[in-house]
């Protein structure tokens, strides 16, 4: 364990560490653009420079082995002068796009400029121009003038997603990042991670482009329900104080974007593109009204009808949602689970063209809580024994044509589906973004999600619903 000195203070480093890693781990901040803890060392931005005590030159810290007795200064005059110069070089040809750039407010270059430079450019020559708004496929747009050629995106596609879809063409100050011409970047299910790791506004999400300023948004921690990996994410939506009456009300209550919530136990700093598109799942048209055989009714009426059906059933079967949270599953088990022969149902399966499983994050099971559901209700295949007279279907994804003839149906679902009207009793239930809860992923790791939106008045939490449906077992004559 080598001991090094940073700004005079002793620091215990590990044998494989660089000075940059040792410094960050011990609370010394050294700025960096091209370094990323999950990628290989590039050492090209030159802003992480430090000075060895007694020497009159600077060296990059990201590639400096932490060797025993090394003494470095991270904030000397020489270091500050070089940082300032590096920022002058980077902003030499960087367009002053802040006013129209989505990255403003979360841009590393902006932050470092104010922290370490703060002066106008000393060049009064025109800036080098390059291509702007280059579509890198359907999801991402690239602005080469803003790009500082840190190569994080290129290294990501080589080392993490392994699509090798990005590279740099030409050389010198006319170098440009480009996507491979065989559309492999579009096919890369992890492509959108380059938006997070790009330190400037060069790589941007096309779906988020120019929608809103990031400082109007706040993130809520959640869990992606797209597969059994259960990556933790942040769902961004308008801050309460920025929910302006002048805006379209949908803007105040919708998902602006989804980003990874770093999680060493599950997904590291990445998520796949399906997680970015959670709005496509959560913002489908919602069921807002309890119904009996398609006729809208009051909730109390529907509850009474359902309780009667449950009490009278001799062979009731329940199809349990694998999107139910740990809390909802436990509530179901406790309240009425004993009455039913319960089978866990996969609410979602892979759609044609969707990646099934890979070595990185994506799992074949496209449901977030199968593990907890199986633990409570077993993993048997769904079957309806002869004499099944009531089926409680919880969650979507079950083909109603497979229901046994003559059985009554109670259906609890969130989305507007034709089947809602075919059920004897239908309850509109809340979705993940409207309540707190936990999912258990395929490895048994439990992750929490929090609510970001209010649910509609007639929508009920499944947990509460199950409690109200609990009835004493009536003795049948």
């Amino acid at each position: 364990m080598p001991e090094i000195f940073i700004n005079g203070q002793p620091v215990q480093a590990t044998a494989e560490e660089t000075v940059l890693q040792a410094a960050l781990r011990n609370g010394f901040f050294i700025p960096y653009f091209c370094w990323h803890k999950s990628l290989s060392i590039a050492g090209n931005c030159r802003i992480c420079v430090v000075q060895q005590e007694g020497k009159d030159w600077v060296e990059i810290a990201c590639n400096m082995p932490a060797s025993e007795g090394l003494k470095v200064l991270t904030d000397s005059e020489l270091v500050r002068a070089h940082r300032k110069a590096t920022l002058q070089f980077i902003t030499l040809n960087h367009p002053v796009d802040c006013g129209i750039c989505d990255k403003a407010g979360e841009c590393t270059l902006q932050d470092y400029h104010f922290e370490y430079n703060g002066e106008r450019s000393i060049s009064r020559d025109s800036k080098v121009r390059s291509t702007k708004f280059v579509p890198l496929g359907k999801r991402i747009v690239l602005d080469n003038e803003r790009c500082i050629l840190c190569s994080r995106c290129v290294r990501f596609t080589r080392e993490i997603s392994k699509s090798n879809a990005l590279g740099i063409k030409e050389r010198g100050d006319v170098s440009v990042v480009r996507a491979a011409e065989d559309a492999s970047f579009d096919a890369d299910p992890y492509s959108d991670n380059v938006i997070d790791i790009c330190p400037v506004g060069a790589l941007l999400s096309r779906s988020f482009l120019h929608k809103t300023r990031v400082w109007y948004l706040e993130p809520t921690p959640s869990v992606c329900p797209g597969c059994a990996r259960g990556c933790t994410v942040e769902i961004w939506h308008r801050k309460p104080e920025w929910r302006l009456k002048a805006l379209d009300p949908r803007q105040n209550t919708s998902i602006a974007r989804v980003t990874p919530l770093e999680n060493p136990a599950v997904n590291g700093p990445w998520i796949c593109n399906k997680g970015r598109d959670l709005a496509q799942i959560f913002e489908r048209p919602r069921a807002l009204q309890p119904m009996r055989k398609g006729k809208p009714v009051e909730l109390a009426d529907a509850v009474e009808a359902a309780q009667a059906l449950i009490a009278d059933a001799k062979h009731p079967v329940a199809l349990v949602s694998s999107w139910g949270s740990n809390e909802e599953l436990a509530a179901f088990r406790k309240a009425i689970g004993g009455r039913f022969a319960a089978f866990v149902k996969p609410d979602h399966v892979a759609v044609p063209g969707e990646p099934i499983e890979d070595d990185l994050l994506i799992r074949a099971d496209k449901n977030p809580n199968t593990a907890a559901a199986h633990a409570l209700f077993g993993a048997d295949a769904i079957r309806f024994d002869a004499g099944t007279d009531l089926v409680l279907v919880w969650g979507e994804g079950f083909e109603f044509g497979r229901l046994p003839r003559g059985a009554k149906v109670i259906f609890a679902n969130s989305y507007l589906l034709p089947e809602n009207g075919h059920a004897d009793v239908f309850f509109p239930i809340s979705i993940q973004t409207e309540r707190a809860g936990h999912y258990t992923n395929f490895e048994g790791t439990v992750s929490a999600f929090e609510p970001c939106f209010a649910k509609a008045p007639a929508v009920i939490d499944a947990e509460a619903l199950f409690a109200t449906l609990a009835v004493e077992d009536k003795v049948h004559a």
Binding site: G43, C45, R46, S123, R124, D125, G172, D173
Partner: protein, 438 residues
């Protein structure tokens, strides 16, 4: 002849590059002698001779080789750097065109010393005749059992592959070269790790200049002591010098270290063309600092003398500049080169080269500003030691060197929006060139 010769020891004919001619002048006898030595003894001999690199950095060759650990159970690689990208330098091509077997034999001896099974020559793509001669020589060597398996009937196998470049100066930088050999973009690498620890395919690799390697056969043939008798005590041996510019007899000369510089220029090379006086020289490729005629007076051609005057041997590409040449235009050509060749990886060089080029273009176009000179110096300083490879530093040295000695020309150009001189870089040759050492 500017001193004793070690490499250019034979007259160039239509066949002097062939295997037969090379054998006739004693070629491939040293290889047998070397293979009978232990590998570490070959390295010791080269170290004792004090051989320095001829690619521009003048790094002690033995010291580079000694880092490679013998018998460490992993492949070692040797790469001859025939990229010769430094402007003004065309001396390696002499060896490739007229004595490629000298390079091959030397590479085999080196491969034995470093336990190298696969060796490479990285040759710049623009070389045509040198490449054909080299490729032809390698074929002759394979046919004669001098390459491949069981060389000279000994248990020594070695293959040499020639890899052609595609027009990048920075692929002449050792780590950029290896990146190119690996099929990647020619991006130099940060050190650590050193290439002799983790080089080609992350294995110990020695990259040496063609001329450097070509000295190895002679050192093993005649011994370190004999080598040290040539040149000076601190700078043994010779340097192939390619001299061009405003000189009456341009060409490639072998200069013994310690030979008086002005004697070389005015006697061996026939002096400045057009009947003009000497203004300055670029001693060894444009990355070395210019030396004025007055500064050249007392110098001898060796590392210590040139470094004492604030310049260096560099790559041996000497450019002669006559009185009346506009130094502003000259710097413009140099900065245009550096800007074009920057690989673009690291911030100071990528942005700085373009910046410097745009500034000098403005000055030459008559739109210079007073602060431009200080700006050029500042950018040069900020590229010194802060970049991944030495190209940023090199551009800085070229700029600072010219500005230090000819600042008045730049100030004049900025103020009067034109050159104080006629602005041309060419000088008509009045004295007909005699047959040089071609």
């Amino acid at each position: 002849m500017p001193g004793r010769q070690l490499i250019m020891t034979f007259p160039v004919t239509a066949t002097s590059h062939t295997l037969a001619d090379y054998r006739a002048r004693g070629g491939y006898q040293t290889l047998g002698k070397a293979l009978a030595m232990a590998p570490q003894d070959v390295t010791k001999e080269v170290s004792a001779a004090g051989l320095l690199g001829h690619g521009g950095a003048a790094f002690p060759v033995g010291r580079k080789w000694a880092v490679v650990k013998l018998d460490d159970g992993q492949p070692h690689y040797l790469c001859a750097n025939a990229d010769e990208g430094e402007p003004g330098t065309f001396k390696d091509r002499w060896i490739l065109e007229h004595s490629p077997h000298l390079l091959i034999e030397s590479m085999l001896i080196t491969a034995h010393a470093l336990q190298v099974r696969h060796a490479f020559v990285y040759i710049r793509g623009e070389f045509d005749l040198p490449y054909r001669r080299l490729a032809g020589a390698i074929e002759e060597a394979y046919d004669a059992g001098l390459l491949g398996k069981g060389i000279l009937g000994r248990p020594f196998d070695c293959d040499i592959n020639v890899i052609r470049g595609a027009g990048s100066y920075v692929c002449g930088e050792a780590s950029g070269l290896l990146a190119s050999v690996e099929g990647k973009r020619g991006y130099p690498r940060n050190r650590p790790p050193r290439l002799t620890v983790k080089g080609l395919y992350q294995r110990p690799t020695v990259v040496n200049n063609v001329e450097t390697l070509s000295n190895v056969a002679g050192i093993i043939a005649n011994g370190a002591e004999a080598f040290k008798k040539v040149g000076t005590p601190k700078c043994p041996g010779t340097q192939l010098v390619s001299i061009s510019g405003h000189i009456n007899r341009p060409g490639v000369y072998e200069v013994e270290y310690g030979y008086p510089l002005t004697k070389f220029l005015f006697e061996d090379c026939g002096g400045v063309t057009g009947g003009k006086k000497l203004k300055c020289i670029v001693p060894g490729g444009i990355s070395t600092k210019v030396l004025t005629a007055a500064e050249c007076e007392p110098l001898t051609y060796d590392k210590q003398s040139l470094e004492g005057a604030g310049s260096s041997i560099g790559s041996g590409g000497m450019i002669v500049i006559a009185e009346g040449t506009c130094m502003v235009r000259l710097l413009q050509v140099m900065l245009r080169f550096y800007h074009h060749e920057s690989c673009g990886q690291c911030t100071p060089c990528r942005e700085g080269m373009g910046w410097m080029h745009r500034i000098i273009d403005r000055i030459v176009a008559g739109e210079g500003r007073p602060e431009d000179i200080e700006r050029l110096i500042e950018i040069s300083k900020l590229n010194d030691g802060t970049t991944i490879c030495g190209m940023g530093d090199a551009a800085g040295y070229a700029t600072v060197g010219i500005l230090a000695k000819y600042r008045d020309e730049f100030e004049y150009f900025i103020e009067h929006k034109r050159s104080r001189l006629d602005g041309n870089l060419e000088v008509p040759s009045v004295v007909p060139a005699e047959a040089g050492t071609q």
